[in-house]
């Protein structure tokens, strides 16, 4: 009996076979890969419309294969609203960082979610302004050091890290709101499933879907990639607890 090798996995079609612009071990890169896998599994390569933010989170533009539109800082949900209303059959998703979504773009995300716009927002929360060199973000943890909180974030000065998934889930309109962490194989597989579900619900016209992905920034956190994954388990995930926060398909 002869033996041969059959390929059972290779990178998804929607990311081109070139090196990404992200730092080694950056989970933006892993997030982009699983979004591409979800798009591919749903056969939506030609139909997907990717709205880019400002930040490292926009570096997907260097290797994403498909239609993209770049929005001004924080305005991706407004751009997505316009595109989805004009092209309701397209699979529209915005990929936004925490500075982009939870600071400068807070009004846009809350308003789009509150209107129940029929698109998906994927929110990459790495607790920092990665691209500009690691300043404090609204999601920086208490005690976490950044270039603007050199002794660690203090509640007295900066308040508490903002829990976007919980806030969006409190609104009446959103259809699906969940948070996943990308620092373990289990978390990655659950996140891919969650993204796929959000995309399917959008294609079925079920309304606004929101996926928060806990990610890292080894470069600005000043850690090796592996250490940053451990930091997430020990710190990030204790405050930003993964889970499904709203799902209109459950008990419906």
């Amino acid at each position: 009996m002869a033996k041969e090798y059959k390929k059972i996995y290779s990178r998804p079609y929607a990311i081109m076979p070139v090196m990404s612009g992200y730092c080694p071990g950056c989970l933006h890169s892993l997030a982009t890969k699983i979004i591409a896998e979800a798009v591919e599994e749903l056969g939506q390569q030609e139909n997907a419309m990717h709205i880019l933010p400002v930040g490292c989170s926009a570096l997907g533009l260097l290797y994403w294969r498909g239609d993209m539109v770049g929005a001004a800082h924080g305005r991706a949900p407004a751009v997505a609203t316009g595109i989805k209303r004009c092209c309701p059959d397209r699979l529209v998703f915005a990929y936004q960082g925490d500075g982009d979504l939870a600071a400068i773009g807070l009004a846009e995300i809350i308003s789009a979610a509150n209107r129940g716009e029929n698109f998906t927002v994927i929110f990459a929360n790495n607790s920092t302004y990665g691209m500009t060199g690691g300043q404090m973000a609204p999601t920086t943890l208490i005690g976490q050091k950044s270039t603007t909180t050199s002794e660690g974030r203090r509640v007295e000065d900066a308040g508490y890290p903002i829990k976007m998934a919980e806030i969006i889930a409190q609104l009446e309109a959103p259809a699906y709101v969940a948070r996943f962490a990308l620092n373990t194989p289990k978390g990655v597989n659950e996140a891919r499933k969650g993204i796929k579900k959000a995309f399917r619900m959008q294609l079925e016209g079920k309304g606004f879907t929101f996926i928060e992905l806990l990610t890292n920034c080894p470069t600005n956190w000043g850690m090796s990639p592996l250490k940053s994954l451990q930091y997430m388990t020990e710190n990030t995930m204790k405050y930003f607890v993964p889970g499904v926060y709203k799902d209109v398909e459950v008990g419906a």
Partner: protein, 72 residues
């Protein structure tokens, strides 16, 4: 081999090495074409083609193969 790592895509983050349940991945001692250290499979028979390394690879640098029997 049951896995292939594209040395033009890999950035040497070590996630695949850390998460491989069979511990059959190791870093090469020489740098690859882009200046990063690239892992290699130390034991092809020990690899179960589980794909966990590929799941965790941020850069989609890993392809996974399964050994199948063919007639002839």
């Amino acid at each position: 081999m049951k896995i292939e790592i594209n040395s033009n895509l890999c950035k040497g983050c070590e996630f695949c090495i850390a998460f491989c349940p069979k511990k059959v991945l190791k870093m090469q001692s020489e740098r690859g074409p882009k200046g990063y250290f690239i892992p290699y499979l130390t034991d092809n028979d020990g690899c179960t083609s589980c794909g966990i390394c590929a799941t965790m690879c941020p850069d989609g640098a890993i392809e996974v193969f399964k050994e199948v029997e063919t007639d002839g």
